[in-house]
Point group: C2
Chain length 198, copies 2
């Protein structure tokens, strides 16, 4: 397998963590690409030019974090990314974290390519407000504690919190969500360490 990814993509980070937790990272080469400048290898595999893109040995190119994680769970069932006792809550958490990442990336892309004021409009403000509201909602309705088996929702939520801390520090993601203690066991794990945003 080959994973096409960019150093700044939190989606790519989440997939790397899942690969390591499954013990599949040694079977997977990584190629760093710049999705924004249409690297030929990426465009060839995925004309939508998004990362992460996971190219299987038969050439099939898988994209979209939730689908790649589903593939990894089918390929190597243990440890499961959707533990059977909490599959639905893990999927719910994963969906919420992916929406948080989408909103954060919308804001970041506008800032990067269109300038500091590019989010001073109804869409930018809406995304910032939904992020704030969602972070706050974790205080009254926290996710289940992290245990030995790490679920896809837990991976994605911790990646989203760290991405927000790094890129949108004004949101105070950890404090606003009250998820600092919740995420401690994850931050100690090697797959999270090795992929820290910098």
């Amino acid at each position: 397998m080959q994973l096409l990814l960019s150093p700044t993509s939190p989606y790519a980070r989440a997939v790397r963590i899942a690969l390591m937790l499954k013990g599949l990272d040694s079977e997977c080469t990584t190629q760093w690409v710049d999705a924004a400048s249409d690297t030929p290898e990426l465009v060839h595999a995925n004309p939508m030019s998004r990362v992460p893109t996971l190219i299987l040995d038969d050439g099939t190119a898988l994209t979209e974090t939730a689908l790649i994680m589903q593939y990894l769970d089918r390929r190597v069932p243990h440890p499961p990314l959707l533990p059977s006792a909490s599959a639905n809550t893990e999927m719910a958490l994963a969906g919420r974290a992916l929406a948080m990442l989408d909103a954060a990336l919308w804001i970041m892309n506008n800032r990067k390519y269109l300038g500091a004021d590019a989010n001073s409009n109804v869409l930018g403000e809406r995304r910032l407000n939904t992020l704030k509201r969602t972070l706050e909602a974790f205080k009254s309705d926290p996710p289940r504690p992290v245990s030995k088996v790490i679920g896809m929702g837990q991976i994605l939520l911790q990646v989203a919190i760290e991405y927000l801390e790094f890129r949108l520090p004004e949101l105070n993601a950890t404090e606003t969500s009250g998820l600092g203690d919740w995420g401690k066991p994850l931050r100690k794990l090697e797959p999270f360490h090795l992929t820290e945003p910098h």
Copy 2:
């Protein structure tokens, strides 16, 4: 189950089609909401305020099309949305179609809320170009023909093509992709008929 959705969301349309193909639509009430104006029921279930949101009988709120479809496949395995003989190609197709929808929605939201010129910049042009390139790529590398069991990639691709035809007619999605004949068996099915965009 309760499905929160908006009439214009192609993601919601794809989930409705999947529910009907699984025979689950009779167990699911639908509530039309306006995601952009923060309907209280939607915000309560999903503070990111995105549709579709599927509320399970225990209150768990599932979001994100790929995850909801995965849930439906776990709940009612037959007919499968990921037929085992073509699971990987269906996932690859689903990922591509979801990225097409994301790009189309980016363009449409900018147009709707920020005006006709809101995509005249590097990000808007990039999304339009990747859409064109991806549509053209189907001509040399068409998806497997539609058979009796409809996969999640096939649902999402047909929904994406019809959404593009409806909202971005300048792309000539059907002609550019050469997928008119490919999609004929899908367009004849009741779940596609009943959910047509208008």
